[in-house]
Assembly symmetry: C2
Homo-oligomer: 197 residues x 2
């Protein structure tokens, strides 16, 4: 049997480690790349090198940027004294897309998990606590997922974050959400948190 060349097998094996791609779809993706060498394969190789060389974690908040301190941390127009705690950079981007928050962030890079042996130090929680005084933080907003690990992490943080106002995102019916498509948990939370008109 003639194998595919070593270079291609290596590439397929690496692509198959991306979330959302398995061995078969990685193979398909690599063949697609070979067909679009100039338009896709070479630009992708270059974009990856560029990200690998230039993008790093912000030393203060954990956001991704090309400088040691990210654009959000260095933006003087953003309200200081407010930190929104998120699990992941993807959540930070989602909040930024909503254009509803003008404070700073802290990216945990994960959630506390007894099962996966993830402790507070792994998540930079000491780093978060160390930011409170020097930055004059008066409010910490917890924007963590409503999962078991998310809520465990939120409770842990609530215990440690003393002397600041602690808030969390409201739970309720999504904007444009239809009641008969929603799960009972969300409907129950929305009912309990009902407000007068």
């Amino acid at each position: 049997m003639a194998d595919a060349p070593r270079e291609i097998e290596d590439l397929i094996a690496l692509m198959a480690r991306l979330p959302g791609l398995g061995p078969r779809s990685a193979r398909r993706a690599v063949l697609h790349l070979m067909k679009k060498r100039a338009q896709l394969l070479l630009p992708l190789a270059e974009a990856l090198s560029r990200v690998g060389a230039n993008v790093r974690e912000c030393a203060r908040c954990g956001n991704l940027d090309t400088a040691d301190l990210c654009a959000i941390c260095t933006d003087a127009r953003r309200a200081s004294g407010q930190i929104c705690v998120v699990e992941d950079v993807a959540d930070l981007w989602a909040l930024e897309r909503a254009r509803a928050y003008r404070g700073h962030y802290h990216v945990l890079g994960g959630l506390l998990s007894a099962l996966d042996a993830v402790g507070p130090e792994d998540l930079g929680i000491p780093r978060l606590l160390a930011r409170l005084e020097p930055e004059g933080v008066h409010e910490v907003i917890l924007a963590l997922p409503a999962t078991l690990d998310g809520q465990t992490t939120a409770h842990y943080l609530a215990d440690r974050l003393t002397g600041v106002t602690l808030t969390t995102l409201a739970q309720g019916v999504p904007v444009g959400g239809e009641l008969d498509w929603l799960d009972e948990g969300t409907i129950g939370a929305a009912l309990r948190a009902r407000r007068s008109l």
Copy 2:
């Protein structure tokens, strides 16, 4: 709103053009790459560059390899005089994995399609016809998909390939296939092609 850095947005846009990944999953894949910079991001960038620089289409059959003529075309142990016509390099690899064929190949790189304006020249069909005499080809095996375009291409090739034995892959029940999971078309084909025991 603070955008993700330009380098990351560029990378997400390129990743989203891979088959099997959309904008959301491309974003997730890029964040995963950022977390595994040394183990995944940098090796992937290098593997892509290496494939881009070294892997090319075989000048004779269209297979992918690092030399101008691929390992199959230059393998003296393979039967000359037999050419198996496939749509794509992925199909060639699938046939090689089956270890049941020891002749040569011809990769069309697509199928005839009136809808997408793909004609015989786009598929290197003239190149296939030009191989018949110099290589002393006595049999051409059509291993094309059982789709409309696949069958159109097979009919077109059958008209042009004169003076050689023309065969096609048998249709029937897959090995290990259970009848009640099979489509009617396959069961019908298997019945019509039944053989005596």
